[in-house]
């Protein structure tokens, strides 16, 4: 098992390099001239000044030298500076990332618990009332766009009923997680609903698939109670495909929260990405893109390890 994990993690490293190369060179293809942003107008009047600045910043070096400098710096933890605000990118991340992680994790927990539970109930009694209900929830969750759902629940729970705050993250006296929770509820539910729907469908389908397998009949032929058949035999064997969905939704929760963060004025990484893209802040774009890509790599690594853990056929190969 350990060997398997090491082997899988070794594959991840070259993948990261390939991604970093793609990110770096793709940005170079864009027509942005970083100098025109960072130089103040009175300096920019003289093209000689610009040329000097370019030389000084190493922008005249061949691309592979530039890439080399960049990747070494990134490895040392120096992510560079935003060319718009001049802030170190590491500081921006330290500020915004916790907000997004908080939101995404809560959404992940909510959607996993509710989605898997509803999927299980659906699969155990297909075509029952609860199954119809769950399936309708799933269809709604998949078809209603998140931002629209967000606007609706703001309208209902924040404006009409006034139970929860409309937007923002931290109020004046909010110190602990519990203080922040009211602000978290609406955005995390909005973020959870789409994923909940997908998980519900997957859990239901994969449970129904497993329940039709011969070894379920074998389990029943031993006279064990039905709940044991469902949990130890059926659910245990459908976990694999559920976990794949779960792990691959992980990075999507971060990327997917971009819109939700806009709707709820959530000061997270999604907000940072949007403002970076709209102002061509390319060092920030590069780092955030790298971050999302790494998140996906980590997720697929997690999928590999978890499925190996769950399925001896993979583990013992």
């Amino acid at each position: 098992m350990l060997k398997y994990i090491i082997r899988k993690s070794l594959v991840t490293i070259p993948m990261l390099f390939v991604i970093s190369i793609i990110v770096f060179f793709a940005i170079q293809l864009s027509p942005i001239d970083p100098i025109s942003y960072s130089a103040s107008p009175d300096v920019a009047v003289d093209s000689e000044n610009l040329e000097a600045l370019r030389e000084h910043l190493g922008l005249n070096d061949p691309l592979y030298i530039q890439y080399y400098h960049w990747i070494i710096a990134v490895f040392k933890g120096d992510f560079g500076y935003s060319i718009i605000t001049g802030q170190p990118i590491a500081k921006i991340l330290a500020l915004k990332l916790p907000a997004t992680i908080e939101l995404s994790l809560l959404a992940l927990v909510i959607s996993t618990i509710i989605g898997v539970a509803m999927g299980l109930v659906s699969a155990i009694k297909p075509n029952s009332m609860s199954d119809y209900f769950s399936r309708n929830v799933a269809v709604l969750g998949i078809s209603i766009p998140e931002f629209f759902f967000g606007i609706i629940i703001i309208q209902i729970f924040a404006i009409q009923l006034g139970w929860l705050p409309i937007s923002g993250r931290i109020g004046v006296n909010d110190v602990t997680f519990w203080d922040r929770l009211p602000n978290l509820i609406l955005p995390s539910f909005t973020l959870a609903i789409g994923m909940l729907a997908v998980l519900l469908r997957y859990t239901r389908n994969s449970m129904l698939d497993v329940l039709s397998k011969d070894y379920i009949k074998t389990a029943r032929s031993k006279g064990i109670p039905e709940w044991k058949v469902f949990i130890f035999h059926a659910f245990r064997n459908s976990l694999g495909s559920i976990l794949v969905i779960l792990a691959f939704r992980l990075p999507m929760l971060i990327g997917g929260s971009v819109i939700i963060e806009m709707v709820f004025m959530w000061p997270g990484i999604g907000n940072a990405i949007i403002s970076a893209v709209s102002s061509s802040d390319y060092p920030v774009i590069m780092i955030t893109t790298m971050m999302l890509a790494s998140a996906i790599l980590v997720a697929s690594f997690l999928v590999d390890v978890l499925s190996a853990f769950l399925d001896p056929r993979i583990r013992l190969e």
Partner: protein, 338 residues
């Protein structure tokens, strides 16, 4: 011949399956007995209801299958209980499954849980029915593995199904069904998915269990050659009915139903002239949805008479042990009587 005690009596079992709109009778008035310490083979083409019969006994029919009427009387240590009257997943029925009646399924590749260690899968049955410590259960499994010819059982109980060959998996499956020492074993085509040499090993094993350990076995097969070798009693099924029932001698020496006769004719024999065509049964099995009055086999029968299609067909006792459901037999009996 000593008096035979029946361990299982199936009486007028009728089962239907529904496709959501209409329901179709798959078993019609099936009755037979399984005798203590004997092997009953149920033979017939695919789709004739062999599997449905044994799944009904265990109440393991799929969701759309339903037992309409009939009784399954099981002799539980002198106590006769009707399995049909029990709730499908209720305590009573579950106490029968695995503990009193063991079941071996067709495809050992698919009928073992791929994510559980085989030892655990066998132990699960034992520990469901007996409150014994884990260690003791493990020892019992190892002992049974030894008996069933699984080499190196101490190590192998920790392995997963995919690490076993087909024949070994079927032995594990037999271990699951045998671990609680049930008196009745149901084997639903236990050798169909295995290659020929392994088939023989598994059948020898089952025969040994039956003879040495005095088990009663219901063997489902469509292999007539196998029936001749191992069975004591034979039930021939066609389209959800038992058309002929008797001892293996009755069936092989005096096959009385035209269907049984054609089945026996279509068994390939070693050394047969390669130019000689193997006999086949003309036509195909009709759709069970098409209701036929009279004999279901009439459409494919070489001896069919007009009355075969119009009359109700009775079960005729040829001898004490030999029954057949055919008008021809009735007629010839009448002729002899006259």
């Amino acid at each position: 011949m000593r008096k035979l005690n029946s361990i299982l009596k199936v009486e007028n079992l009728t089962v239907s399956f529904s496709d959501g709109k209409e329901s179709t009778k798959i078993l019609k008035d099936v009755s037979f007995s399984v005798f203590s310490g004997k092997m009953l083979a149920i033979v017939g083409e695919s789709g004739c209801g062999k599997s449905v019969t044994v799944h009904s006994i265990m109440q393991l029919l799929p969701k759309n299958g339903k037992i309409d009427s009939g009784k399954v009387l099981f002799n539980d240590g002198g106590n006769e209980v009707d399995l049909v009257s029990m709730k499908k997943y209720g305590k009573q029925m579950r106490a029968m499954r695995g503990q009193k009646i063991g079941m071996v399924f067709q495809d050992p590749m698919a009928s073992l849980n791929p994510t559980h260690q085989v030892g655990k899968q066998v132990m699960e049955n034992l520990m469901q029915h007996y409150k014994i410590p884990k260690k003791e259960a493990r020892d019992k499994v190892i002992e049974l593995f030894k008996l069933l010819g699984i080499p190196d059982p101490e190590q192998r109980i920790k392995d997963y199904p995919h690490q076993f060959s087909g024949g070994m998996r079927q032995r594990v499956m037999i271990a699951i069904s045998m671990i609680c020492n049930p008196n009745l074993l149901i084997a639903d085509e236990p050798t169909t998915a295995l290659d020929v040499t392994i088939q023989a090993q598994i059948m020898d094993l089952m025969k040994e269990l039956q003879e040495k350990h005095d088990k009663s076995i219901i063997l489902i097969t469509h292999n007539m050659g196998l029936v001749a070798e191992v069975a004591d009693f034979v039930a021939v099924m066609y389209m959800g009915r038992i058309v002929e029932y008797g001892t293996v001698r009755d069936i092989l020496n005096n096959p009385s139903h035209p269907y049984t006769q054609s089945l026996l004719k279509s068994v390939p024999v070693m050394g047969l002239d390669k130019n000689q065509k193997l006999a086949t049964i003309r036509g195909t099995t009709p759709n069970p949805k098409d209701y036929v009055k009279g004999c279901e086999f009439a459409g494919r029968c070489d001896f069919a008479m007009e009355s075969c299609l119009t009359r109700d067909i009775p079960d005729i006792n040829l001898t004490n042990s030999h029954q057949v459901r055919c008008l021809l037999v009735e007629e010839s009996k009448e002729v002899i009587a006259k």
